[in-house]
Symmetry: C2
Subunit: 204 residues, 2 copies
DNA sequence: GGAAAATTTGGACACTCGTTCAAATCGTTC
DNA sequence: GAACGATTTGAACGAGTGTCCAAATTTTCC
């Protein structure tokens, strides 16, 4: 935390942080195209049609920018299944809708998911935004866990795995499907949908 | 394939390709320390105590170097469970030894696995060594599949999932355990061992 | 309207990157 | 030992990086 956060408090928090969020969102799409390491701040600036120096006015540096960007995107993402958890009437309906939704996000936001895994991996080498990544990981784990627990409730029994294991399994099949999808395998969408349903009904 | 491979044929294949393998192996440990994007060829050269230009004498460039390096490492890795598959007498023994072995490689070669996931992710952005990564992915999938099939044989029934799904699940729990381990969670070794056994006995 | 603050710009800085290449060295063969 | 090809070096090139900053512009407030 340096000059940037100080500036955020001096001016009204509103304008500054709103602008921060806008820039971070725009930056995210730029970085998602070619990856974290392959995208310079000049690419980001060009993509947002704003100047390079401005990025350092609103952010403490590249890590701060990307950390903020992935956080505000993923923390939104992690609420994607809330409506399904809240409104599903049976375990079968929950599983079915969950499968459809997870396949939909793979199809519609493949680039963003690719970037997420890129950043998570980078955080295993750099300490730049490691804390943010860890926080997101916990968010996602809790998201999966909420689905698993609700499904078990509707089915009238206890989950057969813990939260960490459930997240590992769903994350595994999702990443695998993402890779296949990015390599041109369209069928991976449907395979992910079915695999998710199988995993949920089988282990929850 | 450019000047380098041409040179390989002119001189006896032996000396040149042997040197290539040595350099690639040394380069791998250098890149594993800080990641593909954060490690320059100068770092590699310094790590191997050889000159920078030499790397371009034996390799067509960074991608060629790293592609060769990860290939010769991982194609060896993919045979790690062969003895277990061949000599286990019961399904329970196979599962138990598999769990021990997968936890052991996580503990002993965490840096290399971290690098593997780094390179696989990079290949989703660059085309540099994408084909090599895909080939390794198939190798690993076949490795997992061999374990699953053998376990099913010993237990006297058919595998309940296909090869791609099995790989996705095992890769998922392994990556999850690796991340936890790298973040300082020692217990993830034991959790991975148990989760692997559960996955194998439950879905094969 | 004018002063003060916030915002925005464009360029400069110091550095690292992958790549290239002429020259030097080594090893082999006649 | 001379000649030739294989090997190795170290320096250089051009492009790229993140960061920083003085100046210009816009906005805000008295």
């Amino acid at each position: 935390m340096g000059d940037v956060s100080a500036r955020a408090e001096r001016s009204g928090v509103d304008k500054f942080s709103v602008r921060r969020r806008e820039l971070a969102a725009a930056a995210l799409t730029a970085v998602a195209e070619r990856g974290f390491a392959n995208t310079g701040l000049r690419d980001v600036a060009a993509h947002t049609e704003l100047s390079l120096g401005l990025l350092h006015y609103y952010f403490d540096g590249k890590d701060d920018l990307i950390g903020q960007a992935i956080w505000q995107y993923k923390s939104e993402c992690a609420r994607r299944y809330d409506p399904i958890v809240e409104t599903s009437k049976t375990g079968a309906e929950l599983a079915e809708r969950f499968g459809v939704e997870i396949a939909a996000t793979l199809r519609d936001e493949a680039d963003m998911h690719r970037l997420w895994y890129d950043l998570r991996n980078q955080s295993l080498f750099d300490t730049g935004f490691r804390d943010t990544i860890i926080a997101i990981d916990e968010l996602l784990r809790d998201m999966v866990w909420a689905v698993v627990v609700r499904h078990a409730e509707l089915e009238g029994h206890e989950p057969s795995v813990d939260a960490a294991s459930a997240y590992a399994l769903f994350d595994g099949i999702f990443l695998n499907a993402l890779i296949a999808y990015l390599r041109g395998d369209i069928d991976s969408l449907e395979r992910l949908r079915k695999a998710s349903i199988r995993l949920l009904t089988g282990s929850a």
